[in-house]
Amino acid sequence: MLLTPNAMSRRLRFGLYTTTGVIALFLLLPIVFIVLLSFGSSQWLVFPPPGWTLKWYEQFFSNAEWMEAALASLKVALLTTVFAVALGLPTAFALVRGRFPGREMLYGLFTLPMIVPLVIIAVAVYALFLKLGYTGTLFSFVVSHVIVALPFTIISIINSLKLFDQSIEDAAVICGASRLQAIVKVTFPAIRPGMIAGALFAFLVSWDEVVLSVMMASPNLQTLPVKMWTTLRQDLTPVIAVASTLLIGLSVLVMMIAAALRRRNPVSA
């Protein structure tokens, strides 16, 4: 018997667990490494660092360009989240509830931005905004990010909506609520975990988005990943390690929120 660990031969089990440990370390290594480096005193990223310091953080937070980029990232990510959820919500309802032909095909169409290589979306949208003269605007950032964030919100909302028993909404209607009232008062609270998960995904996708942003960016408006990207191509300064650590910190925070929500609402999400 292979699937139960105690029935496995000891050598095999040891082998598997050791391999797993090494792979898990491999997954953690770059993340831990970068966080440690951001506190290291070596300009040349020597590891282990000769000493520990916060000077790279000081440099990061006192540099107007980095701060502006971080603020722009936050702004773009929040706007992207709002629009992705606002567009995803009615779409998910139509795809789950609708009784029209071609629903599967439409679903495929809406998830296409997840499948088409980002580079191609970036180049195509860049061409459009170049023509319209919109490159380097907040609008172009948000629009391009919503394109790739939308599939995530649609899928998470669809997943929780599929778990929701529609007769509960019907019950509210028969109790005297109009369909809209029933959706707002009964269905929304029930699918809230899916909506929040979708919003978190949209936020993370936008927060971490590089390819589209690099194309959309201009000297007056760039997000944190764009600033990192351009800096990275010149030198590997430890300030990038600081920016990376902050990005990692936010990802961990968002994941912890998601996990906390899952624990509170084990049925959906």
Partner: protein, 382 residues
């Protein structure tokens, strides 16, 4: 098929379904149904899944729009009234309580939607909690209640705004047998106490019998039988209903004039049935408990009473079922029959014995038209 309650009380039609149809493409889920529902009655739609009973209920609730036909309540059309303005209560199959609200808020929901004052709301919710005996559970969430308790909350929520009609869509289907029977008794008493009109959907014939004053039997989108449980069982209007409700023995006979026929060549008597042609194929239906099986000696001792028939058959199997016993037999012509008797009466037969099967002419229903598929519709006891 327009049976009316004649219990002496003034029966008044509350809901009328007129030539109601529901088509999905070429498929007729509900096929030209017409039905009058009396004010204050407990009516059950009984049928197997796909028979159209739930679709009809959905049209009453307003979740499905009829393809054609009318739904009238007190003479006024309901078809273009959206479900939330129909003033109908409904209890759903899977309870469908609002998971994020407490028991109290679930029951108060219809009143909150109707913007009743807080004081009135509290009063009515308290009364409902008492009615369904859930006073001490008011602050729990639905997920913290048992199935039976959840269903009682659903009933309270449906009754709190005093709707004219209460629809129930297989509300007890998810519960175990014992709990189901308890709730059936509660429901019957509730109906008696409140005098509300209830339309109940089930596929369980025993439940239909226990609860309702009248039963409408659905098959292929049509109502094929309508009446009290007693009438439908004792005098099924057609072979389908006979076969669907309980168990039945069908005997094919050839009519010879009025009231006489031959079964596998032996003469038998039957109820007077007008309009029979000489030699026409006719179906006799005898309930197993209305037939008697006698050993050859017994039959020789007890002469055949007047107005009874007797045929000879061979015993296939005798089964002991607790309070009753059944004996399956096959006649010389190959017709299978089942005879059922209380265990106390005794059935001293062995497989292979020859027996005489007797039944009273008055107990055998006569059908002149039937479809072969009607003859084995037994839904089985649930």
């Amino acid at each position: 098929m327009s049976a009316v309650l004649n219990d002496g009380q003034q029966a008044r039609t509350l809901v009328s379904l007129r030539n109601l149809n529901k088509h999905y493409g070429d498929f007729a889920a509900v096929d030209d149904i017409s039905l009058d529902i009396q004010d204050g009655e407990f009516l059950t739609f009984l049928g197997s899944s796909g028979s159209g009973k739930s679709t009809t209920l959905s049209m009453l609730a307003g979740f499905e729009t009829p393809s054609s036909g009318e739904i009238l309540v007190n003479g006024a059309s309901l078809v273009n009234v959206p479900p939330h303005k129909r003033d109908i209560g409904m209890v759903f199959q899977r309870y469908s309580l609002f998971p994020h609200l407490s028991v109290r808020d679930n029951i108060a929901f219809p009143l909150a939607i109707r913007k009743r004052s807080a004081a009135e709301r509290d009063k009515q919710v308290d009364a409902m909690l008492k009615l369904v005996q859930l006073d001490s559970f008011a602050h729990r969430r639905p997920a913290q209640l048992s199935g039976g308790q959840q269903q009682r909350v659903a009933i309270a929520r449906a009754l709190v705004y005093e709707p004219r009609i209460l629809l129930m869509d297989e509300p007890l289907g998810a519960l175990d047998k014992k709990l189901r029977e308890d709730l059936q008794d509660e429901l019957r008493q509730l109906h008696r106490r409140l005098g509300i009109t209830i339309v109940y959907v089930t596929h369980d014939q025993e439940e239909a019998m226990r609860l309702s004053q009248r039963i409408a039997i659905f098959s292929h989108g049509k109502i094929v039988g309508l009446g009290t449980g007693y009438d439908l069982y004792q005098n099924p209007p057609n072979a389908f209903v006979a076969s669907f409700l309980g168990n039945s023995n069908f005997l094919r006979v050839k009519a010879h004039g009025n009231g006489a026929a031959s079964f596998e060549g032996q003469p038998v008597a039957m109820r007077l049935t007008p309009g029979l042609a000489e030699g026409q194929e006719v179906l006799l239906m005898v309930r197993p408990e209305k037939a008697l099986a006698l050993s050859v000696e017994q039959a020789a001792r007890e002469a055949l009473p007047a107005g009874w028939n007797e045929v000879t058959a061979r015993v296939g199997e005798v089964l002991f079922l607790g309070e009753s016993q059944t004996c399956s037999v096959v006649t010389a012509g190959g017709t299978a029959m089942t005879v059922k008797a209380l265990s106390a009466a005794g059935m001293p037969m062995q497989p292979g014995d020859t027996v005489k099967v007797r039944w009273a002419v008055a107990d055998a229903c006569v059908y002149t038209q039937w479809a072969e598929s009607d003859l084995n519709k037994a839904a089985g006891a649930h």
